[in-house]
Assembly symmetry: C2
């Protein structure tokens, strides 16, 4: 045995079988008896054999790659760099792919033509797809054609997913505002059909209900402009609002702008808790207290799952959403929970 990386030939020899059989075992395709499977597996383990993905790709004609898919209504230039959520997915996936000979393909597909494009991707994906942003129906559509898919947002129950506790995060945010003495707690929600937004909205509703607070909801679109407009309307309709739970930091950034423009101060007049803990959260004035979504971790886990051979039907993994205190909420009356500047 040489010092070089072992090949499938080495494995076959050590196991005393042909290369074909070794290949069958390694690829988990039928056509090998149990005893031989055992021997091959032992040889693989002993040699520390790792298939050469390049050779594999050449032989099969397929690249080993993870497809990161972002379905977006707006494909304008710069969508990724400026999208505080999606831009965290890539850095999460990337390190997982180091040294395993797999590519990362990125697909930004427009909502309008999504179905066709997803079909295309489904037919060419190898390791599988990570949905960074998608609607449940499109996710299900893709999943029907290709089982190798993991979603980072809640989708169809059948589609494997990494799930952040959006409901719990929203619930906690409202509770926190209540603890700080706020009683007129408004909310700016995300798109009506967006699953993350739906969960956060539900969390807000349940919390306000439990606490006996009024439901002061407005709809946003997960974009800064939407946050601005919603906050403005909210304040016009309910001038006595003393806090807002806002379903993403980008909208919260807009809301802060609107609140300030109305002559109110944050957090003195209106306390704010955002969602995501994206870069936007520290750029606002003042910086946002927010609920941290562990996007990078979720993306890594998804990539690892795909790399390991694909998830099981309905696979689900939970991720916590934690409070990050900054200055858009006032300090509690007692004790010291300092904001970071």
């Amino acid at each position: 045995m040489s010092t070089l990386k072992p090949t499938i030939e080495d494995v076959a020899q050590l196991a005393g079988v042909s290369r074909a059989t070794a290949s069958r075992v390694i690829n988990d395709v039928p056509g090998a008896s149990a005893p031989l499977r055992e021997r091959v597996r032992a040889a693989v383990a002993e040699l520390g054999y790792q298939p050469n993905e390049t050779a594999r790709a050449l032989a099969t004609g397929r690249q080993r790659a993870i497809d990161v898919i972002v379905v977006t209504p707006d494909l304008s230039v710069g969508w990724l760099g400026t999208h505080p959520y999606v831009s965290r997915v890539l850095p999460g996936v990337m390190p997982v792919l180091q040294g395993v000979n797999a590519q990362l393909r990125l697909h930004a597909v427009a909502q309008a033509t999504a179905a066709d494009e997803l079909d295309q991707i489904a037919s060419t994906t190898t390791l599988g797809a990570v949905f960074a942003e998608i609607t449940p129906d499109l996710a299900a559509h893709f999943y029907r054609r290709c089982r190798r898919a993991v979603s980072l947002v809640r989708t169809d129950p059948a589609v494997p997913g990494m799930e952040a506790d959006n409901f719990g995060g929203a619930y906690e945010a409202v509770n926190r505002l209540h603890q700080l003495g706020h009683r007129r707690i408004a909310a700016i929600h995300g798109p009506t059909l967006n699953p993350c937004a739906i969960d956060r909205r539900a969390g807000y509703l349940q919390a306000t209900q439990r606490l006996g607070l009024a439901d002061l909801s407005a709809d946003g679109n997960f974009r800064r402009e939407g946050g601005y407009d919603a906050a403005q309307q909210l304040l016009e309709r309910h001038p006595d609002i003393d806090a807002m739970f806002i379903a993403c930091d980008l909208m919260a950034a807009g809301a802060v702008q609107a609140i300030t423009a109305s002559g109110r101060r944050v957090p003195d007049d209106v306390g704010i808790i955002g969602f995501d803990d994206s870069i936007a959260a520290v750029c606002t004035n003042p910086p946002l207290t927010t609920m941290r979504l562990p996007v990078e971790e979720m993306a890594s886990s998804a990539a690892r799952l795909l790399l390991a051979g694909g998830p099981l039907r309905g696979h689900r993994q939970q991720f916590p959403v934690d409070l990050v205190v900054r200055e858009s909420t006032r300090e509690p009356d007692t004790g010291r929970v300092g904001g970071t500047r």
Copy 2:
């Protein structure tokens, strides 16, 4: 000729040469006469032949990949997602790599151990490296070991680079503030040793000098906190400051926070122009007028250059830095240059 992608065999046949000769021509290695070279090239053009990179990788044992390198003093989690500049490099490079069978490898290396790690990368890179963030000496160090490198920031003169007009951008920013009637124009600069920061500083200095304005400079670190601290000190030392040129949006976000905290208003009391046009620019309150750095375009160009077979020694490409007007500068007295909200 079939409907399939043409292979080198097709090229060879059409040119009436052997596969070996075709390969030599295509790879630009010596050992083929001029007339044959011509015939092969013609065949390549006619067939629209594109080498299969997987086969190439298998035959040579080398992966085709572009290495994106970020040297950073701080390797803490989330550095990429929250770095408004670097997070735009990936989306720039990515699309260029679609369908050309090349990987994108991302390396975040700590300043402390950079030299060794860069050696390692230099010895394994194939298409070459893109420096998203690096110091001139490290860039030169890498370049000495491997010529295939393009920097997105100004480095050693020998190292090929995509250069944004940082000097001109800063110069224009100051001029703009002057046109708007500001006369006490301060600056918050980036790290003393950072080339981009150096150029922007120089632009500010030259502009203030030409305009006969005082040099009101403070040092920052390209981070929000640094912008906050610098702005605070600046205002203490020179309470009559009526405008600031700030060398990056992230610092500008901090500066806005500090200015507001001091009881001043933006843009009424202090006009602000940032730099980058990153996501931070629209999250501040009010949104920033800023100088747009075309990071995505620069990154694409770098990737294309590398893909085309590596840059020439001293290759240089210029990119403009344009003004984007938002609300952190007041409107001109005459005419209408509306800020976008």
